[in-house]
Amino acid sequence: MSGSAEPMIRLENLTKRFPGQKQHAVDDLTLDIPDGEIVILVGPSGSGKTTTLRMINRLIEPTSGKIFLEGEDVTRVNADKLRRRMGYVIQQIGLFPHATIASNISTVPRMLGWKRKRIAARVDELLEMVGMDPSIYGKRYPKELSGGQRQRIGVARAMAADPPVILMDEPFSAIDPITRGRLQNEFLQLQTEIRKTIVFVTHDIDEAIKMGDRIAILDDQSHVAQYDTPATILTAPANRFVEDFIGARASLKRLNLTRLSDVELIHWPTAELSTDRESVREALLRSDKGSVLLLDENHRPQRWINAMDMEHTDTPLAEVGLPATPAIDEQATLYDALNEMLTSLQGAAAVVDADGVYRGVIDIETIAAAIRTMRAEARERYRGEAPEARETEPTEMTS
């Protein structure tokens, strides 16, 4: 499926039948998981996602079939050693409550016999990677962290020995929607740096579309209903099951396919908060947008200011105009951006990178343009297919 390159993981005719059960929990599953991609297993409850994932690290031994890791048949190798080559994150995380965060993170490196110094350095590096200060959090215990922070530690712990593969079973689903969105963005940002092969289980199609490079939609017994990129699944669902699973509003969901880092952002006129009013006024005069975005000394967006706001000469610059916060993370999708604009009732939103530094501005027009492109592409693809290949015309694509 990934072309000629060898897949990182290959599942071959994998079958699992639990003792005392008539039906197979997983029935003859064959799946290639390409190197460096996030592959999502998504499907209704009981479809066998967890069983499939746990067969990859052999927490569940397959009844029949084979598992290959980097071309090597690992169906019969020592399971503990195999697991040290794969990170594993579960919904409840399962941090060790009696161990410090540093000790939790260093679990696998210690088992692998790393030197003390190397372990300490790695722990610090990982904590920084997930945005937590090592000097503060290293010595803490899991109960002294928030749910979101625990989840970050779960991810850091899974990456500790730098395994090529990370398995994640609904890692974000026990977390409130706002934190979940933030964690998803952080994780995607991280993935652009680490490029791991990730198998990610969820039952949430929106999360699948947002997170996945590739999605396997699983029906009962892990039968693969469709295995494709999110874009293809949304524009050309293979069958009724997939259509139903995607649900209504497929076109709206397509907005989730595009991250802000992928679209051309608008270069809005900006000015530094610390500068005097005169230069802000000049920037305004030069601006063809009617307003200026004020940035703080770290280039983080602060306020939108227009000519009228400038007349309030007695209020400090930091308080005039409209707040430009919260700015949108560039890992967020067009869907998130649209949502943000509708919530804040502003036609535009500032976009920032992982450090909160200003990258550009997105407005409704950018999103409208993206929708037009998508529609054109979908029509193109639709025409390319033989008419009898499809039973019904996807109504939401006709304009």
């Binding site: 040290r84 579960i90 995380i93 941090l95 009696h98 088992m111 398995l167």
Partner: protein
């Protein structure tokens, strides 16, 4: 009351010696019982049924009155220190075994799964994760056993066992004389004080051995 205080002052050396012997036999019994209990618990906790059977047997042995148990043991181990030690160990088993099994079975399955998923083998999981997490509960069991055996050890004097029971039984055997009450009261008070000291001791042990993360 005055008399009793005078008596205590006069006998304090003797009572102290008895108390030391008392503590010694209890500590030995608890150490042996802890080792046996934890071993039994480790071997049985995975199966709810086997664990229930083991606890049932231990519970039944607890219902045998201590005096009868001492007597039953005499043909096998004779009089004195040994029947008392054996009986104390038998009594101390149940609370520790039960709490160890409860503690081990009570470890959050998600923690076990994540440990297993990181490639921790059976033994490593047991010693690094399960036992440390069960430890607060195990320690409570040890404390309960200790307090219980402190009292039972006193009855051991009936079969010539060591400890404060000696004074208690000496007092009971000469009821009616003025020293009788003093003897029995002195011995009993000694046991009560020991129980309180042990309680304080276990609080300190808990502070030192239970991870801050689970306290």
């Amino acid at each position: 009351m005055r008399d009793f205080l005078d008596y205590l002052d006069f006998r304090k050396g003797h009572i102290y010696d008895l108390a030391v012997e008392h503590v010694k036999i209890v500590l030995v019994a608890i150490a042996i019982a802890t080792a046996i209990s934890i071993l039994i618990a480790i071997l049985t906790y995975r199966s709810a049924r086997i664990a229930a059977i083991v606890l049932g047997i231990q519970g039944a042995s607890l219902t045998v009155p201590s005096l009868a148990l001492f007597g039953l043991l005499i043909p096998f181990v004779g009089l004195g220190y040994r029947p008392v030690l054996v009986a104390l160990v038998i009594y101390a088993l149940l609370p520790i075994t039960r709490n160890t099994i409860t503690g081990l079975r009570g470890v959050d399955p998600a923690i076990i799964e994540s440990a297993q998923g990181m490639g921790m083998g059976r033994l490593r999981r047991l010693f690094r994760i399960e036992l440390p997490l069960a430890w607060p509960v195990i320690l409570t069991g040890i404390r309960v056993s200790t307090v219980m055996t402190l009292g039972i050890a006193a009855i051991g004097a009936y079969v010539n066992g060591p400890g404060l029971g000696e004074d208690i039984f000496a007092g009971l055997s000469r009821i009616g004389t003025p020293t009788a009450v003093h003897l029995a009261l002195g011995g009993t008070l000694g046991v009560v004080v020991l129980a309180m000291l042990f309680d304080a001791f276990y609080v300190v042990v808990g502070k030192l051995t239970i991870s801050k993360g689970v306290r």
